[in-house]
């Protein structure tokens, strides 16, 4: 066994044998994501392409590569990561706007892939989305009233004059005057358009909303307004959010838990405050230290962790731990072993072989040592 050539073992692809969310095991998760993979085929690999001078290696982008996570009722899960890491693909797959390559999304314990197309339309009532670019996500040829009325009509929630009444109500809820019902999206500011998008998402009375970078396109002052609106609506309507963003300050403000994504994989999940105050992963530390501190003296005094290099291409991600090319703490084993997401502290999960529940602080681990390695290989051999 020990003589066998060391293989690259993808432990994180295995169904999670460790409880991901035993913090709040008592309640059923609203959304469960189980080993979800979304691979986009870029072509190549066809026999004939060799003659055409192309590559005969099939190329795919692994936008989401084996993610498992639960989202609990009433929770806001923040999802952060650099652009291109697969955040949006994950969000859209939860709403089945993208069909996953493999893995499952469970809503109230039922797999979405089990629903037929027409059943799925009924389920969509409960799962809604807020988009990043509010000007692209609103049909330029429909009035605001028609846009917000669309889900009301699609799900036959109201009829006739009651539709308009409902639209007016929703507009007031998100802080727009119902006098604007007959106007077109281009007549509004970015913040107002985002309110329209939120009103539309609320129209079907959903339980769960994916907010895909909802504030990234807005001015800072407007960002705060929109976040406050989202928080108020969450409290009033018992909503559950998946809040996707690359803005760490925003995510910290609005989230109960934060998940960090890197090249298609989750690398760390923890309660929002914990992940900011005591991040475990070197990548998370770098992300957090990239946020400037508002106090100029403190900013000058602090020494941010600067990562070397760019995000590697998701077409050919690095072997083993995807982060090893940029990680200051990497050892040889990191190139070989895909680290599983392990509960290092209660409710705090991280995917790194160099830390373990016994030695959670990577800076304090003896050089070259990998206390998490045993656990990683254990879960592989247990397969």
């Amino acid at each position: 066994m020990s003589d066998a050539p060391q293989e690259i073992v993808d432990a994180s692809a295995a169904p999670p044998m460790f409880a991901l969310n035993d913090v709040r095991v008592s309640d059923q998760p609203l959304i469960s994501i189980r080993d979800l993979k979304i691979h986009f085929d870029l072509g190549g690999g066809m026999f004939i392409e060799r003659f055409a001078g192309g590559s005969n290696v099939r190329r795919e982008v692994k936008a989401v590569d084996g993610i498992s996570v639960d989202i609990h009722r009433g929770e806001t899960l923040g999802l952060v990561g650099e652009s291109g890491c697969g955040k949006s693909a994950l969000g859209r797959a939860i709403l089945r706007l993208i069909e996953p390559t493999s893995g499952q999304v469970l809503f109230n314990n039922r797999a979405l892939s089990d629903f037929t197309k027409s059943e799925m339309r009924g389920v969509r009532k409960h799962l809604q989305m807020i988009f990043q670019d509010s000007s692209a996500s609103l049909n330029p040829r429909m009035t605001v009233g028609q846009i917000i009325a669309e889900p009301v009509e699609a799900f036959r929630l109201k009829r006739g004059a009651a539709v308009n009444e409902r639209v007016g109500e929703l507009m007031e809820t998100v802080g727009l005057s119902q006098r604007f019902m007959k106007r077109y999206p281009h007549e509004f500011s970015g913040g107002q358009r985002q309110r329209i998008g939120i009103a539309r998402a609320l129209a079907a009375e959903p339980q769960f909303i994916v907010a895909d970078e909802p504030i990234s396109a807005l001015d800072v002052s407007i960002q705060a307004q929109i976040m406050n609106l989202m928080e108020r609506l969450k409290a009033e309507r018992n909503l559950t959010y998946l809040f996707i963003s690359h803005d760490l300050r925003a995510v910290r403000h609005i989230s109960d838990r934060v998940a960090v994504m890197y090249l298609g994989k989750l690398v760390e999940i923890a309660p929002a405050e914990t992940i900011y105050d005591e991040p475990l992963m070197p990548y998370t530390k770098a992300l957090i230290s990239a946020v400037p501190v508002p106090d100029p003296e403190a900013e000058a005094a602090r020494r941010p962790v600067v990562l070397k290099g760019d995000v590697p291409s998701p077409i050919n991600p690095p072997s083993g731990c995807h982060f090893h090319t940029r990680c200051p703490y990497r050892i040889e084993k990191c190139k070989e072993i895909v680290p599983p997401l392990v509960e290092i502290k209660p409710g705090h999960f991280a995917a790194c072989i160099r830390i373990s529940p016994e030695q959670p602080v990577i800076e304090e681990v003896t050089q070259g040592d990998a206390p998490g390695l045993l656990r990683a290989t254990e879960s592989v051999t247990a397969l």
Partner: protein, 271 residues
């Protein structure tokens, strides 16, 4: 709008007025032959002169506008409708539907020279205005289908279409309320160019004796009747006036089409 497009609009406007009020504008009965007045040159009595059987050319050109516009409008409306439906379904559903429709059907139709196909079809169906219109529709719809398919492919990836899907809108609702209204613009350009094509094809087929049968005052028929050398040398006006009518109207529709294209496509505006 550029000047040529305005010129086009004016000419088409005149054409429409002439066609609508043809009975008021025409000075003579278009069927009345008068062998004593053959090949008369343009005069105050006969603005465009008379033809081989003494019929008033001006009145016949005026009524010819009716035939040309009628053929153009029906052909464009029918082919645009069929093309839109086929192109939208192919573009929206994609997959095997699209690969059959755009991969085979489009290419087969486009591989034929259009006019030749129309000639073959009229030869097969027989001459006549309705058959001519049918033949022109059969060769015409593919152009619209191709334009719409391309647009639908683009628009269906827009965020608001994704949003509508997430909101639970049905496929038909997404297609008709979200995709098509935002995909239809280039169709207007295609339609005005299509008008020019239809008018020209009608004249060409009638000229060849494959369109509207002779007594009817089609511009193509008038050209055909004036095409022998004796007529050309002794009474060129019988050829010139219907010829100008065809050329002007085709030019006008083309100018409008180009003007619209330029206006709708900002990348071409800075020329």
């Amino acid at each position: 709008m550029n000047r040529l497009a305005i010129f086009g609009l004016v000419v088409v406007g005149i054409l429409v007025i002439v066609a609508l009020f043809a009975p008021l504008i025409a000075t003579h009965d278009i069927g009345a032959t008068n062998l004593g007045d053959r090949f008369m040159s343009p005069s105050a009595e006969h603005f465009f002169g008379t033809d081989a059987t003494g019929r008033d050319v001006f009145s016949r050109v005026v009524y010819g506008a009716r035939i040309s516009l009628r053929v153009g409008l029906i052909v464009v409306a029918v082919s645009a409708f069929i093309g839109t439906v086929v192109g939208a379904l192919a573009g929206y559903y994609g997959g095997w539907i699209d690969s059959i429709v755009s991969g085979y059907v489009f290419n087969v139709f486009l591989a034929f020279p259009g006019l030749l196909l129309a000639i073959a079809m009229v030869a097969f169906l027989g001459a006549g205005l309705n058959k001519l219109i049918l033949a022109l529709c059969i060769i015409g719809w593919v152009g619209y289908a191709r334009v719409i398919r391309g647009q639908v492919l683009k628009v269906r990836e827009y965020d608001f279409v994704q949003a509508a899907r997430a909101l639970g809108a049905s496929d038909m609702r997404i297609l008709f309320r979200h995709v098509l209204p935002n995909a239809i613009q280039p169709l207007i350009v295609q339609a005005s160019l299509g008008m020019a094509g239809a008018v020209l094809s009608e004249a060409a087929l009638s000229f060849l004796g494959l369109g509207v049968p002779p007594p009817a005052p089609s511009w193509g028929v008038m050209l055909e009747e004036a095409r022998d050398l004796a007529t050309l040398s002794s009474a060129p006006h019988t050829l010139i006036f219907p010829g100008i009518a065809v050329a002007l109207s085709v030019l006008a529709f083309n100018f409008i089409g180009d003007g619209l294209r330029e206006r709708l496509d900002p990348r071409q505006r800075s020329r």
